[in-house]
Each structure stands twice: as structure tokens, then as C-alpha cells.
């Protein structure tokens, strides 16, 4: 079975600093999609960033960037210049090429401290 592992249940960072959240996954597919979603206390799941496995270039969205290591099956999220509004649960998820189901990690609770 495919799995997504987030090994950090909780993390904290000081405002304006940089933090990296880790994610590893298991797959036998060559093409797939990886996502980081943010879930604040409002419960609304919000897409942060997306990476297509066939693209070697790491995705970047403003303060958010990923380090995608396909061979190592690693997909970490880096948040630069952390803001108080970044406080949330962060979920890593994988979407298979033939399988439209998102497979989710258990999440990392991130607290940004003033």
C-alpha cells in the first residue's frame, strides 16, 4: 500500500525565521503529484504548493518552496519569513497517476511564535 509519512507531529518557529517540514512517501509509480495542504483552525483545507514528479525543478510559491528528491522519495516544505498566520496543521499528500485518491500523511502542527 502507498504511504505518506510526516515524521514531525509538532514544530514551532519564531516569526520571521525559516522552518522546514519533512515528508517521505512510498510509491512504485514514475509519474504522480505531490501536495502540501494547510489546515488552520477554521478546518478549511488550503493548497499551499504542488509538485509534479516528472518536473525536476522544485516548486516555489512566494515564501513557500519544496525540496523534491525523487530518488529518495522525499518532499519537504520550506517556509521562509514565517508569519503568525502560518500557524496551522500542514499535510503532505500524494496523488497517483492512475489513482485519483489523495494519500495523506498524518500532518505536522506548526506554531509560529511572536
Amino acid at each position: 500500500a502507498q504511504t505518506v509519512t510526516q515524521s514531525q507531529p509538532e514544530m514551532s518557529v519564531q516569526e520571521a525565521e525559516t522552518v522546514t517540514l519533512s515528508c517521505t512517501y512510498d510509491t512504485s509509480e514514475n509519474n504522480y503529484y505531490l501536495f502540501w495542504y494547510k489546515q488552520p483552525p477554521s478546518r478549511q483545507m488550503i493548497l499551499v504548493i504542488r509538485q509534479e514528479a516528472y518536473k525536476q525543478q522544485n516548486a516555489t510559491e512566494n515564501r513557500f518552496s519544496v525540496n523534491f528528491q525523487k530518488a529518495a522519495k522525499s518532499f519537504s516544505l520550506k517556509i521562509s519569513d514565517s508569519q503568525l498566520g502560518d500557524t496551522a496543521m500542514y499535510f503532505c499528500a500524494k496523488l497517483g497517476g492512475n489513482n485519483r485518491k489523495l494519500i495523506w500523511g498524518l500532518g505536522t502542527s506548526l506554531a509560529v511564535n511572536p
Binding site: 503529484y33 501536495f35 495542504y37 478546518r43 483545507m45 504542488r50 499535510f91 485519483r100 485518491k101 495523506w104
Partner: protein
């Protein structure tokens, strides 16, 4: 509205009762997904609808769970004879047709179900 909506926002029910949870996807989205998020857990896939194709029900945990999607739009998730372990947040998501240039799933705010 422009986003995915779900109702009710919260539902408290007694063990053994049936409940219906509703999802209105983004207009024009052909794919619709239901997930369950239990306390301290990640999201668990339940069911997937794509256009007029037969739904993928492989994630439904028991035959007490069922879902339908009428007219390719609104979906209802029904849980019969609810049990305490059914307590969770039920999230609905929709996306444009898989295979296009985006595979982003847009999520609703969820329904928090509490079974007493």
C-alpha cells in the same frame, strides 16, 4: 458562492440514528471526493465520483456508509445506524476533470459529526 460548500457545519446525533451530510461542489467541477478526518489522524479517502462513471467506493469503511451524487453536482453522504467511532470531520472536495492541467482538489469547510 465560488467555493465548495458543506452542510451542516456541525451535527450531533445519537448512536443508532442515520445522518445525511451534503456537499455542493464548485460549479463545473466533474470530480467530487469525500474524506474522513478523525481526531489526530490524517485524511482517509471514502469515495470518489467522476462525471457519469461508476463511483470508486473502495474507501467506504462499512456498508453503513453510502453516497450519491445527483445530476453530477450535489452529493450526499449517508451514514446509517451511526456508531461512536463515526465521530469525525467529513470533508468534501471537488476538482476539474482529472487529466487536465490541474489536479488540485478544492475543499469545503467540512462537517463535524459527533455521535453520542
Amino acid at each position: 458562492g465560488a467555493g465548495v460548500s458543506q452542510s451542516p457545519s456541525n451535527k450531533v446525533t445519537e448512536k443508532g440514528k442515520d445522518v445525511e451530510l451534503r456537499c455542493d461542489p464548485i460549479s463545473g467541477h466533474t470530480a467530487l471526493y469525500w474524506y474522513r478526518q478523525s481526531l489526530g489522524q490524517g485524511l482517509e479517502f471514502l469515495i470518489y465520483f467522476q462525471g457519469n462513471s461508476a463511483p470508486d467506493k473502495s474507501g467506504l469503511p462499512s456498508d453503513r456508509f453510502s453516497a450519491e451524487r445527483t445530476g453530477g453536482s450535489v452529493s450526499t453522504l449517508t451514514i446509517q445506524r451511526t456508531q461512536q467511532e463515526d465521530s469525525a470531520v467529513y470533508l468534501c472536495a471537488s476538482s476539474s476533470r482529472p487529466g487536465l492541467d490541474t489536479n488540485e482538489q478544492f475543499f469545503g469547510p467540512g462537517t463535524r459529526l459527533t455521535v453520542l
